[in-house]
């Protein structure tokens, strides 16, 4: 369902992504791990075209886009196929939780307002925020804000939800409630690509783990393969270090 082919991204002379190829099937949970600054977030942002890749073709569902030859409407079409959960939540500061979640339905999908709000409410109830529908982001804890962030991504009707280190900015006390929501989504077979340092989550939830370093995919496989039996020396070294920390 998702196909990334020869994806490359340069910032000036610095190549952050070098020939990335991978596929993701519908309903698959893919976790991307690797050291900081190796292009994990850039890769995720390219999938949503928040970064414009230098080369390569990205296909998500019916939308496909070639980095070197595309129009503005191709970008919008691709973005509609995915939604994004940001490290710093990035909720719309001028909108309530309910309005944040309903926004894509109203503006992008032209759902009638009342219907959009009621859908948004259902989703917020699902992530445990029934009490906070009319709260503004500034009135919510980090964990609550991130759950609204996930609810907003769920509402956007994309084929895949992209998570960019969704728990990295959270105080430790809020991490579990956010991971619980993500686990619930995984259980429902929502296609997800997650960049995270939460190794335990990767182990438990991922169908496939991708290890990235220096702009390449070094190794990928089941959590079992990557964490217990990695083939590549660099994977081995990273996994050993990462598991020791957690």
């Amino acid at each position: 369902m998702i196909n990334v082919s020869k994806l490359g991204k340069k910032f000036g002379d610095l190549a952050v992504l070098k020939e990335i190829n991978f596929e993701v099937a519908k309903g698959e949970i893919v976790v991307i791990i690797g050291p900081s600054g190796t292009g994990k977030s850039t890769l995720l942002r390219c999938l949503n075209y928040l970064e414009t890749p230098t080369t390569g073709i990205i296909t998500i569902g019916p939308a496909s886009i070639d980095a070197v030859d595309h129009k503005a409407k191709d970008v919008t079409a691709l973005r509609k196929q995915s939604s994004f959960v940001f490290q710093n939540y990035s909720l719309f500061a001028n909108k309530t939780a309910l309005q944040n979640v309903a926004e894509s339905l109203i503006t992008v999908w032209k759902v009638p307002k009342q219907q959009a709000l009621s859908t948004a409410e259902t989703i917020l109830v699902k992530v445990g925020l029934a009490e906070k529908l009319n709260a503004y982001p500034s009135q919510l804890s980090g964990g609550q804000q991130q759950r609204v962030g996930i609810a907003r991504a769920m509402a956007a009707k994309g084929e895949v939800i992209l998570f960019d280190e969704p728990t990295s900015a959270l105080d430790p006390e809020w991490v579990d409630e956010v991971l619980a929501v993500m686990k619930q989504l995984a259980f429902e077979k929502q296609t997800m690509i997650v960049v995270t340092h939460e190794m335990q989550f990767a182990k438990e939830v991922a169908d496939r783990v991708i290890f990235m370093e220096d702009g390449y995919i070094v190794e990928q496989g089941t959590p079992q393969q990557i964490f217990s039996n990695p083939e590549n020396e660099r994977t081995k070294a990273f996994v050993k270090r990462a598991l020791k920390q957690h």
Partner: protein, 223 residues
């Protein structure tokens, strides 16, 4: 000539002057409305860096910030009709409103632009990530937030504009300042007349400062 302060004169003059406050406020309100529309357009052209027009916008802002309002008003009202026939029939009141809006839009455009650029980049990204277009993002998320940031300085310009309408008397608009000048010339009570008009401007500005605070309170609800 030495004369004693005549409070009675001021009290009698006030209602006469206040009859002309309507003209002053009409110029200020229309001027501000047009300035706001122009400024928003200019700011968006510069924020989106629209090819070619953005250079025109920069030139426009540079000119209207770089020359005195009085000079602009004279150019518009006394100068242009000599070259462009469409300006011949223009009355002074209209010219004053056009002049004020052109002048203030240049300043306000910069305030609005700064407010837009001050909104965290992640807000735009969040809009794009759920499939919104840049224009939709502007309208529904960025501008509402920027308006909160820009309100204090825009209200400042509005207050400045109220006071700047007094320059319209040089074009012959019968507004509050013109009336004060006329009354002063006939009574020779310059101090009392201009003090009276100063007090009226001051009270009006205090009133709008209150409105500004109420507006800011409302806009800060989400924060």
């Amino acid at each position: 000539m030495q004369s004693s302060f005549d409070l009675q004169y001021i009290i009698e003059l006030m209602p006469i002057l206040l009859k002309y406050l309507g003209v002053t406020m009409e110029m200020a309100l229309w001027g501000f409305l047009f300035a706001l529309i122009l400024a928003l357009g200019l700011a968006l052209v510069r924020v989106f860096k629209i090819a070619f027009i953005q250079h025109l916008a920069s030139l426009y802002i540079s000119f209207f910030r770089g020359t005195p309002l009085l000079v602009q008003l004279f150019l518009l009202y006394y100068g242009f009709p000599q070259f462009m026939p469409i300006f011949v029939g223009m009355d002074a009141f209209t010219a004053a409103i056009i002049g004020l809006s052109l002048h203030f839009s240049a300043y306000m455009a910069e305030s609005i632009r700064a407010a837009i650029l001050g909104i965290d980049k992640s807000q735009m990204e969040a809009c794009l990530s759920i499939g919104m277009t840049r224009l939709q993002a502007m309208k529904r998320v960025i501008l509402p937030q920027a308006s909160r940031v820009a309100t204090p300085s825009l209200m400042n310009y509005f207050i400045d504009m109220i006071k700047s309408t007094s320059l319209a008397f040089t074009l012959g608009v019968a507004e509050i300042m013109a009336k004060a000048q006329m009354e002063a010339s006939s009574s020779f009570k310059f101090f009392e007349s201009f003090l009276a008009v100063a007090v009226i401007y001051w009270v009006v500005v205090i009133f709008f400062t209150r409105i500004q605070h109420l507006l800011e309170y409302r806009l800060n609800k989400a924060y």
